[in-house]
């Protein structure tokens, strides 16, 4: 037996005594939503069955439609929601931590109850809903990745909207002119990089307030594409009819019931997304690139003192962020829509920015946030199509209401990179 010196004691860390603080925000929010559910699903209950279609044509096996009686389902779900609310209140009162399962379970139940209520007497294509969710999320996810990279490097990227819009326009025009969607895709990335570079030069070289530059860029690109659209594209429709990227179904995987078509019957941009998101996550936290990127976003002077060229590194990373966002822009014209229309990004760049914050500047969490916003939009579209009892104006608000609630609920808890938005001024 070897005698061993006691190994070095772990470095002492600072721990202050904590007071017992009860957080009532979550249980109160749950209670409000439960009351909403009670009013809609029980007091204003609708008769009839909601038919949830879970299958699509090419599945391995067909899951039969779920037939839910609206009234009974509503009662059951409201009871379950009330139970979850009670649990959350009990956990808050006894200062217990609740897992992330609670908000997820609550959200799923609420949505299910809402769907059953709204779709009473109609058929709701769940598989289609998921397909639409992925489709609507793609530009958000690319935009959010651009935001994550840029903000982690210390530059606030309000210009995601401009990068998406610039990418969409350029992708459409170059794709039509050359007849090659791949060239269009690359051109979209270049256009978005150029937008990023303008942001980078003003923010990094001339220390202009980054939010202002970003907003100005958004307005500028919107104006520019509007002008070119009406002066150029309306008279030359040939310049605005790019070929669309083909859907490339992945054999076997596409036949997975429910999720297969949504995830694996997509174009190359979507598959690229599946690779890029984990790649960025891995790169940020496991590579030299990520270490330096996070360093210049947290404490640029410290990075400078170990010989990292802060200004240059920021510039190229903001440009890289543009390239990623540009892919999201290309998705509008080369995949989902097939032609450019005025301001077709419709503020999605800002929602992507919200996803960055909601996702705590982490690529995977930001993607999850973007998917949530995408789902809200898809839900609104689907319910609009089957004719829901809620006025369509309210349904249109849904994605934005979800965004506001999400950001307001989480903004205090997530911490931005310390030097994000602050120019690095060297003596």
């Amino acid at each position: 037996m070897t005698t061993q010196q006691p190994t070095a004691a772990p470095a002492e860390t600072i721990e202050l005594e904590r007071a017992v603080v009860r957080h009532w925000k979550a249980p109160i929010s749950y209670a409000v939503l439960t009351v909403v559910a009670l009013v809609l699903m029980v007091l204003l209950a609708r008769d009839g069955d909601a038919r949830l279609r879970l299958a699509s044509g090419s599945d391995f096996f067909q899951i039969p439609d779920a037939l839910l009686p609206a009234r009974a389902t509503g009662v059951v779900i409201v009871v379950l929601l009330a139970l979850l609310t009670a649990y959350a209140a009990w956990a808050a009162a006894t200062v217990r931590r609740v897992g992330v399962w609670l908000p997820i379970a609550f959200g799923v139940l609420f949505v299910l109850g809402f769907l059953t209520w709204a779709g009473a007497g109609a058929m709701i294509p769940i598989a289609g809903l998921l397909f639409a969710t992925v489709g609507l999320s793609v530009p958000l996810i690319f935009g959010a990745m651009g935001g994550v990279i840029s903000e982690r490097a210390g530059v606030v990227n309000i210009a995601i909207e401009a990068q998406l819009l610039g990418g969409a326009f350029t992708g459409a025009v170059v794709g039509s002119a050359t007849g090659s969607t791949i060239v269009g895709l690359l051109a979209a990335m270049v256009a978005a990089v150029l937008v990023s570079m303008v942001l980078a030069v003003f923010a990094i070289r001339y220390f202009v307030e980054q939010v202002i530059v970003g907003v100005v860029l958004n307005v500028l690109i919107a104006g520019l594409t509007n002008f070119l659209y009406s002066s150029l594209l309306t008279d030359n429709p040939a310049l605005n009819s790019p070929e669309r990227l083909p859907k490339l179904p992945i054999p076997v995987l596409e036949s997975i019931p429910l999720l297969g078509p949504a995830l694996f019957k997509q174009s190359i941009i979507v598959y690229a997304m599946y690779i890029i998101v984990p790649l960025i996550a891995w790169g940020l936290f496991k590579t030299t690139w990520g270490l330096r990127l996070r360093a210049i976003g947290e404490h640029p002077l410290a990075a400078d003192t170990v010989g990292i060229r802060v200004t240059r590194l920021r510039f190229w990373n903001v440009s890289l962020a543009g390239a990623v966002a540009g892919l999201g822009g290309a998705y509008f014209t080369l995949d989902s829509n097939g032609a450019f229309t005025r301001e077709m990004t419709a503020g999605l760049g800002y929602i992507a920015l919200a996803a960055v914050i909601f996702g705590q500047w982490h690529p995977i969490k930001a993607t999850a946030a973007a998917l949530l916003f995408g789902f809200a939009s898809a839900l609104q579209q689907t319910l609009g199509a089957i004719g829901s009892p809620v006025p369509s104006e309210f349904m249109l608000m849904l994605p934005y209401v979800v965004t506001i609630l999400a950001v307001a609920g989480f903004i205090g808890q997530s911490r931005a990179p310390a030097a994000s938005g602050k120019p690095y001024i060297k003596q």
């Binding site: 470095a11 002492e12 202050l16 996070r294 990075a303 400078d304 170990v306 010989g307 990292i308 060229r309």
Partner: protein, 503 residues
């Protein structure tokens, strides 16, 4: 390795921060660079480290002229620096901080961890390479800075005011580390304004004043000699004061607890009282709750419970306006951020909290005559060196800015005076002035609380000393308590007999 600086000159606009400075450091010696705040020590070191470019002069290593375009070059040449404000990324681990910038040379994260363990073992540091910097106490963070420099095989190590954030014990440990490094053949530059430390450790001393070298001093020089050399005139190092004459005025704080945003008790069940005519100094290492305590007294902390009674009146829960009206004068920790409006003139700053009525405001308009008269009087009384009362406060030196704050806070009838780090960053002349004003306030029968991290200042001013550690008061002891036991208290050890421990 021998480092030589020859004729280094650095100008910022009209200000010459370094004026033809020569300095030589040899392997295996500790060379102290002694100078007041603002003498140009840090500028010189930033030039050496490649953060600033010198306007004139050159840097030689072993007789060869060096050109440093950035810190990377300096580091490659073998110069390492332990910065006054640590150059560590708070959300990174120890190993990640060491790795940053030298990813290939260290062989990735695993190599960096290995290196951290190696160097820790050599110096007995006990540092976990996977600990996050923000969870570590400042003393340990400083060791990470040292490891960072050593991991690059630095032959010349520069310590820029390294003891400013340390407890006396940590300071002693740091000195031992510096001696060990010297004995291993490292050339060390030790920048400081603390005479005690210089005398304890220096092999050679160079004194600089107003950007110029004023000469070399022997390590055997007395503190008074060193001080007068540093300041340029004979200096009174001790604060002159009579025994306290207690009055009936009283501040009574009991069971005060302050929570921060995430529910941590940054001030934890603190009780003490201050009588009129005495100075209670609150000592402790920066960040142990002193800031939050003073802010709670002023009503700036929203989540505070307990009681703060001034002459029997409860102050807790009152608005800042009410607290000020109750006669509380407050010198905040950071005069530039919380004490003054840099864009306003001296006269405007002097009436900053008195905008609500006579004598400066009548019928909603500022009475400029009264304001200027008041300002002119204070300019003379507090020896504020400025062109006139309309000079922008932001353009004044630190000492004169602090005098403006004092003039305002002491310029109205007070029932309590709270000064937080009143002499931080000031030159010796201003420090003497601030101290005399604090003592004069005490002698006027007003309870005075002074928060300071400088032990010399605490010992000099205090009638009683309360030591704070991690939000609590470790103990309240008489001013005559030895530095050693104060140092232990600053590290959280309770003294044998202290009044505060039970109260």
């Amino acid at each position: 390795m021998t480092l030589e600086l020859q004729g280094i000159t650095k100008r910022f606009g009209a200000l010459t921060a370094n004026d033809h400075i020569d300095l030589e450091v040899r392997a295996g010696e500790i060379h102290c660079l002694l100078g007041e705040n603002g003498a140009g020590k840090s500028t010189l070191m930033n030039v050496l480290y490649g953060l600033y470019q010198a306007d004139e002069g050159q840097i030689l290593l072993d007789g060869e002229v060096q050109r440093f375009a950035g810190p990377g070059d300096a580091m490659r040449a073998g110069i390492g620096m332990v910065h006054q404000h640590f150059m560590l990324i708070p959300v990174f681990t120890v190993a990640e901080n060491v790795l940053l910038g030298h990813e290939r040379a260290l062989g990735g994260l695993a190599g960096a961890k290995q290196k951290v363990r190696e160097i820790s073992d050599r110096f007995g540091f006990h540092i976990d390479p996977d600990a996050r910097i923000e969870d570590l106490p400042v003393g340990v963070q400083q060791r990470v800075e040292i490891i960072k420099a050593l991991s690059q095989d630095a032959k010349v190590l520069v310590f820029d005011e390294p003891t400013a954030v340390l407890t006396p014990q940590e300071t002693d440990e740091l000195m031992a580390i510096m001696q060990q490094l010297r004995d291993e053949g490292t050339a060390i530059v030790f920048i400081t304004h603390k005479l005690r430390e210089v005398r304890a450790i220096a092999d050679r001393i160079t004194v600089i004043r107003l950007g110029k070298v004023v000469g070399e001093a022997s390590p055997d020089s007395s503190t008074t000699e060193l001080a007068s050399m540093m300041v340029g005139r004979p200096v009174e190092l001790t604060v002159q004061k009579q025994p306290p004459v207690l009055t009936d005025n009283q501040l009574e704080v009991s069971g005060l607890t302050v929570l921060d945003a995430i529910g941590q008790k940054v001030v934890n069940d603190v009780s003490f009282s201050v009588r009129g005519g005495e100075v209670l100094c609150i000592a402790g290492v920066q960040g142990n709750g002193q800031t939050e305590l003073t802010e709670a007294i002023l009503g700036l902390q929203p989540k505070a419970t307990g009681s703060i009674r001034l002459n029997g009146r409860e102050l807790l829960g009152k608005s800042v306006r009410d607290v000020l009206d109750a006669g509380v004068g407050f010198v905040p920790e950071d005069r530039k951020v919380d004490g003054l409006v840099g864009e306003y003139s001296i006269a405007e700053n002097l009436m900053l909290d008195r905008y609500r009525g006579a004598p400066f405001v009548s019928a909603g308009t500022v009475d400029r005559g009264a304001r200027d008269e008041f300002a002119a009087e204070k300019l003379g009384a507090f020896d504020i060196r400025a062109q006139d009362i309309h000079t922008r406060v932001g353009t004044l030196s630190g000492g004169n800015q602090q005098k403006v704050v004092l003039a305002r806070e002491l310029g109205r009838p007070l029932a309590l005076f709270v000064a937080s780090q009143p002499t931080r960053g000031l030159d010796v002349g201003s420090i003497e002035f601030v101290h005399s004003q604090i003592i004069a306030t005490r002698d006027a029968g007003i309870p005075v609380i002074v928060v300071s991290t400088e032990l010399d200042e605490v010992v000099g001013l205090a009638d009683r000393i309360a030591v704070m550690y991690r939000g609590g008061i470790v103990g309240i002891v008489p001013a005559a308590t030895s530095r050693d036991s104060l140092g232990l208290m600053m590290a959280g050890e309770r003294p044998a007999a202290a009044e505060g421990a039970a109260a």
